[in-house]
Amino acid sequence: MFDILYKIFGRDNSSSKNIARERLRLVLIHDRATISPEVLLLLKEDLIKVIREYLEIDEEALLVNLENDNDSVALVANIPIKGLRRAVNE
C-alpha cells in the first residue's frame, strides 16, 4: 500500500537512502555474526564431545567456521570421519 504511494510520489527503490539501508542491513548481519575465537573454540570442543558419542572423527582436522554469503551467515563445520562405531542393537 505504502509502496504504491511511494512510487506515485517518485520514491523508487533506487534512492540512495534505500541503497544505504540495504547496505547497512547486510553489513550488520556480518558484524553481528562475528563470534570471538575463544567462543568458536569452545563451540568446537563441545561439538567434538557430542559427535564422539556416535562417530569416530579426526579431531585434529576438524574445522568450524562462520561463513558469510551474500545476505546470510552460516556455521560451517568440516568433520572428517575416521570410522563408524559398530552399531549395537540391544
Binding site: 520514491r11 534512492s15 540512495s16 537512502k17 534505500n18 544505504a20 539501508r21 547496505r23 547497512l24 542491513r25 553489513v27 550488520l28 558484524d31 553481528r32
Partner: protein
C-alpha cells in the same frame, strides 16, 4: 530525586557526543537540576571549549583520581548557570591514567552532590570507552544518519549490553529533513528499526551549532536555534517529562505554515 549517571557515547568520532553532552547538561541545569558533565576523553579534551570554560581549568579528572586535589577543587562552575559544573579531562596525561574502578568511585562520589552526571565518552571502544561506561546507570548513543555511524552505534550497543547496560537510548543527530524527504538520507524509523533501540530524540542539522561552538555557548541558550530546541526537548524527556517526538510530519506542517505566511506577505 535519585541521581542519574548517563554516559553519552557513539563509537564513531565526530557525530556530536561532546556537543550533545554540553547541550543536554546545560538544558538540564536550565530546568533547575544540579548537573555535572564529566569529560573522559583524556588527551583530547574538548568539552571545556564547547562550554567556553577552557580558561578556568586548574585541576582535572586525573588529579582527582590520583588524589592530587579534592573533587570540589577540580569542579568548574559554569559562568552562566548556577547549578552546572564541569569536571575536565586531562590534556597532557596518559590516557590509561584512569581505571574503570576509579571511574566508578568517582561517579558514586558525584551522585552525592548532583541530580545528573553526564559522562562524555571518547570515540572508540578501548580503555577510554571502558572508563566512561564504568559508573553509568544507562547510556545515550548518538548517531548521525550515515551508514558508518549507525554501524558503529550497533557495535557500541552490543558492547554496552555485554557490560550490563541494557537501557540504551538513541539520539539521531544532524538529520537533514529535506534530504530525508527526497529519499537521500536514512530516516529515523530506518535507524531505530535496524538498531532495535528506543529513540530518545532527533536533532536537526543546524548551522547555529557551529556558531554556538565558536562562541563557547551551548545552542540551548540561543532561543532561535532549532538544534537547541531539540536538545531542550530531550532534556525534558531525561527529566521524566512526556514530550512528544518531533517528527518530519510536524515539520511539514510548519513548512506549510511558513509558505502560507510568505504568500500572505
Amino acid at each position: 530525586m535519585k541521581s542519574k549517571v548517563l554516559v553519552i557515547t557513539s563509537g564513531k568520532g565526530g557525530v556530536g557526543k561532546t556537543t550533545t553532552t554540553a547541550n543536554l547538561g546545560t538544558a538540564l541545569a536550565m530546568l533547575d537540576k544540579s548537573v555535572v558533565m564529566v569529560d573522559t576523553d583524556i588527551g583530547l579534551r574538548n568539552l571545556d571549549v564547547v562550554l567556553g570554560l577552557e580558561n578556568r581549568i586548574v585541576f582535572d579528572i586525573v588529579d582527582v583520581v590520583n588524589g592530587s586535589c579534592k573533587l570540589r577543587q577540580a569542579l568548574i562552575k559554569d559562568k552562566r548557570i548556577e547549578s552546572l559544573f564541569l569536571l575536565p579531562a586531562a590534556q597532557t596525561k596518559d590516557k590509561n591514567a584512569v581505571t574503570p574502578h576509579q571511574m566508578k568511585n568517582l561517579t558514586n562520589e558525584l551522585r552525592k552532590e548532583f541530580d545528573f552526571i553526564l559522562v562524555d565518552c571518547p570515540a572508540g571502544i578501548e580503555q577510554g570507552f571502558r572508563n566512561a561506561i564504568a559508573g553509568a546507570d544507562s547510556a545515550i548513543v548518538v548517531a548521525t544518519p550515515e551508514i558508518s555511524s549507525v554501524r558503529d552505534a550497533d557495535r557500541i550497543i552490543g558492547l554496552l549490553e555485554a557490560a550490563g547496560l541494557y537501557d540504551t537510548r538513541l539520539i539521531v543527530n544532524r538529520l537533514r529533513s529535506r534530504m530525508v524527504k527526497n529519499g537521500d538520507m536514512l530516516d529515523v524509523d530506518d535507524i531505530i528499526d535496524i538498531l532495535s533501540i528506543n529513540l530518545l530524540g532527533v536533532v536537526p542539522e543546524d548551522e547555529s551549532i557551529v556558531i554556538s561552538t565558536n562562541r563557547g555557548e551551548p545552542a540551548v541558550m540561543e532561543t532561535s536555534s532549532k538544534a537547541g530546541a531539540a536538545y531542550k526537548k530531550i532534556a525534558r524527556r531525561l527529566n521524566g517529562e512526556e514530550v512528544p517526538l518531533f517528527t518530519l510530519e510536524d515539520e511539514r506542517i510548519l513548512d506549510k505554515f511558513r509558505r502560507l505566511l510568505k504568500i500572505a506577505r
